[in-house]
Amino acid sequence: MAEFLSLKEAVSRHINNGDTVCMEGFTHLIPFAAGHEIIRQEKRDLTLIRMTPDLVYDQMIGAGCAKKLIFSWGGNPGVGSLHRLRDAVEKGWPNKLEILEHSHAAMACAYEAGAAGLPLAVLRGYIGSDLPKVNDQIKFIECPFTGERLAAVPSVRPDVAVIHAQRADRKGNVLIEGIVGIQKEVVLAAKRSIVTVEEVVDDLGASVNACVLPSWAITAIAEARKGASPSYALGYYDRDNAFYKEWDGIARDRVTFQDWLKNNVFEKGAA
């Protein structure tokens, strides 16, 4: 059964230096509050996995939490580059960042296979792309029935999954609504999971086929109001598109970034 913890306690207890951590939320319900807590606790040498690194990983990479990034699209959506990610890849600041990149289709399949307990995902992918030349995890197999050549990638099975969701009931069952992304998959694929939620309620109010994670499939739940901001939580608050644009200026420069980090992360306590 899921244990209700403070965010501080959940991160402290379940994320270790050197862990492989997936913080997911495909353009929605991005777990920013958890990311900031990881920065505050100065976790180091993490292998970060995420389809769309987004600002949350830009911040964590800039803060020095990551040694490796596995991803499929690393930009500030609709705005431009992730400057902290680029600084780490291009200049090694604040530390060298190893990267391994996939396509979205491959990563989505790799999460799906991880949730399904399989060691590999098979897809019709990477045809004609140079990505297999720079990612030695991409292999090709032959279908034993048709002879077709198909791509294979290892499934994602991280140490820890971190997601944000709309709400949990008091038993620890969690409802995710709207753009559900790969959140169910990453929680089921991970050894441990931390779910932050907007609120804890008596009744989830879930429809019959809603995306609900049962309490016994989750390790820890922490309440974190506006825990996805500047991303959004459908039914709670909108995406702060203005901040996404503003981030471009903040992150371009190491000093303005560090100031921002100090004022907005380190000097703010955990929820």
């Binding site: 495909f26 353009t27 929605h28 389809m51 769309t52 991803f71 499929s72 699209w73 690393g74 930009g75 959506p77 609709g78 705005v79 580059s81 992730l82 990610l85 680029r86 890849v89 291009e90 990149e101 996939h102 396509s103 979205h104 289709a105 491959a106 989505a108 399949c109 999460y111 799906e112 897809l123 019709r124 992918g125 990477y126 045809i127 004609g128 792309s129 140079d130 990505l131 720079v134 077709e148 709207g178 753009i179 559900v180 992304g181 790969i182 169910k184 998959e185 995306c211 500047p230 959004y232 459908l234 909108d238 995406r239 702060d240 598109n241 203005a242 901040f243 996404y244 644009k245």
Partner: protein, 258 residues
């Protein structure tokens, strides 16, 4: 009595016209999203728009900044998980058109959104592949829209993130279960299509008031022109009005948040 319009507007309107109501379009963010929604709000009201965030048949009132803005989900027929989107809807063969942008494109319509320079020592690191590598092979055909410049239109891309027709134009030959690939590239200067045999991109239509020299100047290889070169029809007053309203609504919406 020509209307006033910018080259960007010309590009968006022309790209929008490539879509019809019977198409199921997997929409990339940015220019493709603008064109696809313009099509939906003008001549193709029933075009089905799908974004990789899982939103099926969505009808946003403003353009999303990311492919997962709440607007997309709230106006969709339904929203599915991302693995389902890529497995069932894209790989499953239900997408007629993939609509993509790019950072670099070469003469065989290969796309590079990974990096400029060498992979291990990049001059500029770009976002990466995202959905494009499999959209380009699993959709029945691919439309591309991108601004025309020598930096973007290069003879050979630094990195083939997403295959057009490969380094030699033959990458799709004898491959089973693969779409037709790029069938049209729409820029702010012209329309290009792959030669049926060589697959090299050929200018088939110049936008009004654009010269061959301007296209040659903005292209990083010796660009070919079709024997019968057309002139792209101008935007209509209606198209321009809808496009400008859409962009104004979008800017107001995104600026107004927080």
């Amino acid at each position: 009595m020509s209307l006033e319009y910018t080259s960007s507007e010309m590009m968006s309107v022309t790209a929008a016209r490539a879509l019809t109501s019977d198409m199921t379009c997997f929409v990339g963010i940015g220019l493709p999203s603008e064109a696809a929604n313009l099509a939906r709000l003008t001549h193709a009201p029933d075009v089905t728009l799908i974004y990789e965030s899982g939103t099926l048949q969505t009808k946003p009132d403003v353009l999303p900044l990311s492919i997962g803005d709440g607007e997309l989900c709230e106006s969709a027929l339904t929203t599915v998980a991302v693995p389902e989107m890529f497995r069932y809807w894209l790989q499953g063969g239900h997408i007629s058109v993939g609509f993509l942008g790019t950072a670099q494109i070469d003469r065989y319509a290969n796309l590079n959104t990974t990096l400029i320079g060498d992979y291990r020592e990049p001059k500029v690191r770009l976002p990466g592949g995202g959905g494009a590598p499999e959209i380009a092979t699993n959709a029945k055909e691919v439309f591309i829209t991108v601004k025309h410049s020598k930096r973007t239109f290069v003879k050979d891309v630094d990195f083939v993130t997403t295959v057009g027709f490969g380094r030699d134009g033959k990458a799709r030959d004898n491959v089973s279960n693969i779409g037709r690939g790029p069938t049209v590239v729409i820029t702010d200067l012209c329309i290009l299509k792959p030669d049926p045999d060589s697959k090299e991109l050929v200018v088939t239509s110049l936008h009004p008031d654009v010269t061959r020299d301007e296209v040659i100047e903005a292209t990083g290889w010796e660009i070919l022109f079709a024997d019968t070169l057309e002139t792209t029809p101008e935007p209509s007053a209606k198209e321009l009005e809808v496009l400008r309203d859409l962009k104004a609504r979008t800017n107001a919406h995104h600026a107004g948040q927080q």
